[in-house]
Symmetry: C2
Subunit: 336 residues, 2 copies
């Protein structure tokens, strides 16, 4: 399977390492031979139709901070140019999420689909701003659009709701979908001020470069858009979400919650409307998880409420979700 990889940060590198370390097993067990024919990062790109060497890619990135130096001839092709000129079966889109215009991810994805490539995106921007139309574009071009890694990182939340609960109707859900804000709120629960808890989260590298994505609830809202479209079939985009972040949560609020045996969590939910905001959750509710954990509770018609808890982020975890999407695509193609 020929792959173009747009973005080569932590997730992209983890993925390539996963390909390297599991290559024998992927071929013998699933018939998957991932061949990365092009990689694009913010500083340049590199191409080899016969497949780039996984180890050399990672080493080059480590040494030069870009894949541009992979070969002696330095390639300055952009992601879009690569997608237009290099033959491939799948685009894996891992550039940073951007909720203003979703670029460059949006153009990567639409260009790839128009050229008949399947797309795996862990970039939430394009999905948050244009989920319904991207899905239509995929159907129109008869390609698959996969995005398991966008919600829950390595925890297969989307697949669980869609496949493990097949034959069942999910009526609503509520979840902690952003690990950074959960970490901050959890620490505030021990009496630390918002400012100190935020500083600690920054020191640990948990906060996005644009801190607003975490603190104002945008990241959680983007995930809510994806869940609402995919699980409930509601055609919404980011502006439809009623979104409040955690900046105004005070230690007093948290103490008040404690008196009710509750904790304040940033909850994304789908009850009557789609909302992201701080909410009191009973401490003995399975949803009330601490630290950087993510959790989501699905309420279904016949199977009651079911909660899934896992790490919501992490390079290897997200890479493992891309691999699952790739195996799904491999299987679907083989079936045709």
């Amino acid at each position: 399977m020929r792959i173009i990889l747009c973005g080569f940060g932590v997730v992209g590198q983890s993925l390539v390492k996963l390909f390297e370390s599991r290559s024998d097993e992927l071929y013998s067990k699933y018939g998957l031979k991932p061949r990365v024919v092009g990689v694009f990062d913010s500083k340049g790109s590199t191409i080899d139709p016969s497949g780039l060497n996984f180890k050399k890619l990672v080493d080059t990135k480590k040494k030069f901070g870009t894949v541009k130096n992979y070969a002696s001839i330095k390639n300055s092709m952009s992601g879009v140019e690569m997608l237009k000129n290099v033959e491939a079966d799948v685009l894996i889109e891992t550039t940073a999420s951007n909720y203003k215009d979703a670029e460059p991810g949006m153009t990567h994805i639409t260009t790839a689909m128009k050229r008949g490539m399947h797309v795996i995106s862990v970039n939430k921007g394009p999905l948050a701003l244009a989920f319904p139309s991207l899905l239509e574009l995929a159907t129109y071009n008869q390609v698959m659009l996969k995005f398991s890694g966008t919600v829950g990182g390595g925890t297969p939340i989307l697949d669980y709701a869609k496949n493990s609960l097949s034959g069942e109707r999910i009526t609503s859900f509520a979840g902690i979908l952003n690990g950074t804000t959960n970490y901050i709120l959890t620490n505030m629960g021990t009496g630390i001020s918002y400012e100190d808890a935020l500083k600690d989260a920054k020191d640990k590298g948990y906060v996005e470069a644009d801190e607003s994505l975490d603190l104002d609830g945008l990241d959680a809202a983007a995930k809510l858009v994806i869940l609402a479209n995919w699980i409930l079939g509601i055609k919404v985009t980011l502006p439809d979400i009623n979104c409040t972040g955690i900046r105004k949560v005070t230690l007093d609020d948290i103490k008040k919650a404690e008196k009710n045996n509750c904790s304040i969590k940033l909850i994304a939910s789908s009850d009557k409307e789609l909302v992201v905001g701080p909410k009191e959750i009973p401490n003995d509710d399975p949803l009330c998880v601490n630290g950087t954990l993510n959790a989501i509770a699905f309420t279904s018609e016949h199977s009651g409420t079911q909660t899934i808890i896992g790490k919501g982020a992490g390079g290897t975890e997200t890479a493992s979700s891309i691999l699952r999407d790739l195996l799904d695509i491999r299987q679907e193609i083989a079936r045709d």
Copy 2:
């Protein structure tokens, strides 16, 4: 799809009600038209090759305590005789679990498979005592053996581990797999004695007729056998489990755990060996759920630890898992 239903207790009746209430949707959405051609309960049976009426089945059972009175001619065919003489595509086995010889479920299942019927079992007995050989028999006879409802009731734990985490290797798991003992231990956590907590659980109808199945950990051990075989590929049966129940847990043990911010839970785990026994679990561990809830934490190679929490039992919940198995079988048959 022609179905023989062995056992017509809470689960069997919930299933038939589910067929009744969702019949239009099951046909239009999944192409499934469930036709129950025979039902067997402990007092008798009833047969109609053109399909029994769902409502009448439930009404008859309610009125006479058996389906035998469904038609004017009272049928005394046993389950095995029915399976030998009535043409059907699927056996749904819901008789009570028995961990001594697994009968009558064992003979129902083997007879059905030998006749080329697919089998859905929510009866844990046959699987606990003979999982490896039953799976072999299914392969030999080219039929499907499904058992989603045996672990987690309506919570699709087995499917999650097998399918949602496909491409991933689960290295170990630990879970609270029995709601009754969890209810008793949770109540003891509030200072109530074992005896009083047990009495309360009995009053609420949570305890099996043979209380040993819950209290001595047999039910949890049976589920552990199924998980170990299905998820880890270890060929074990019930006698291989190192199993201790909750009868010897004292209020002192629980108080001691509390001092460590822990609760005592009956944990079924697969670390180095397969064990069921009371164990201290940190209160902020996602696994540490209260009341009758079930929870299981899977640790995988690349996606970290993931916990699923849900109701472990209930008629409608278990019936919904049977329906999912039936839809899987329908889909597999359509694919051939």
